[in-house]
Amino acid sequence: MNSNTTTLGAPVSTRSRAMPLAMAALLGLFVVAVSGFAPMEAVHNAAHDYRHSMAFPCH
């Protein structure tokens, strides 16, 4: 099974890289979630046109 895995990063550096990459991805998810999905009325109003323009579900 493991031998079927292709191009998933260099085996040597994978362990030390996984953490910072996961942190970066989480940070990205957080930013997108707040501007695209946060239910607070003020955030919704501020990002209203953006949300419609990105086809995020909006009101």
Partner: protein, 258 residues
């Protein structure tokens, strides 16, 4: 072992253990620069192309049973009105802020995902990653939940958000299985993951009857889809072009593919 230390002089051997701070810094730099560029392009496209259609659709609010009208009425009754930017310049500034900030957010996701796969080798390979981002975040959720204008009827917001997020996750996982697993079985599983959300179906409103003209909505769907495509292509190409300056050579068997 690829020469990852060449372009990262602050990469100390002592940090090679559990956590490599220089990796996080590089990811954030590339994502911030590429996201800023793509976000600025997105801002220009939205203010020029999508916002005018949104403003036009808002003139139909109140003509149908839309959420905005109801919310405004109930807020007026409560005597509490949520803050909203003033129409015009201020409103566009917040649209720009949201576009640029999420440009960086999507950039972080794209850089992190592509680094797990060995890194993007150049701008042309970045375009392919951009197409993938477009497929995951615009195309797949847009099939069940097309871009909607104000004053249009829609199903429950939370139900739509759940379907949207699940569809994005399933499509991303499906594409990753197809691209990075050699076995044909995984490719079949990948296709199944991509198709499944559409078999389940997105939450739909009771009636699609809307005061917004079909012609206006159709134009909006096309403009939103195309602007998102351009945004993702700029983001992917920028990440691919910037990456070698921060990470050294891509450790990627597909280098010859670009």
């Amino acid at each position: 072992m690829p020469p990852t230390t060449i372009a990262t002089p602050w990469h100390f051997p002592a940090t090679n253990g559990l956590f490599d701070m220089s990796d996080l810094r590089n990811v954030v730099f590339v994502a911030a620069l590429a996201g800023l560029l793509a976000g600025l392009v997105l801002t220009a496209m939205q203010i020029y192309a999508t916002v005018p259609l949104i403003l036009q659709a808002e003139t139909f609010e109140g003509a149908g049973g839309d959420h905005h009208g109801e919310a405004a009425v109930s807020e007026a009754e409560d005597g509490v009105e949520a803050w909203a930017p003033a129409d015009g310049m201020e409103r566009n500034l917040y649209t720009a802020l949201a576009a640029i900030v999420t440009g960086v957010g999507f950039g972080l996701l794209l850089v992190a995902a592509s680094e797990f796969a060995g890194g993007i080798a150049g701008w042309r390979q970045g375009l392919v990653w951009g197409f993938a981002g477009f497929a995951v975040f615009t195309l797949a959720p847009g099939l069940g939940l097309p871009p909607e204008l104000p004053a249009m009827p829609a199903a429950d917001l939370v139900a739509r958000q759940i379907w949207w997020i699940a569809t994005v996750a399933a499509t991303a996982a499906g594409l990753a299985l197809i691209a990075f697993r050699a076995s044909a079985v995984w490719a079949v599983v990948g296709v199944a993951l991509i198709v499944a959300p559409h078999l389940i179906g997105a939450p739909q409103p009771v009636s699609h009857e809307s005061p917004v003209p079909a012609d206006l909505h159709h134009r909006f769907v096309v403009v939103v889809t195309v602007t998102n495509l351009v945004f993702w292509l700029v983001l992917g190409a920028a990440v691919g072009a910037l990456r070698p300056r921060f990470f050294g050579q891509a450790d990627n068997a597909r280098t010859s593919f670009a």
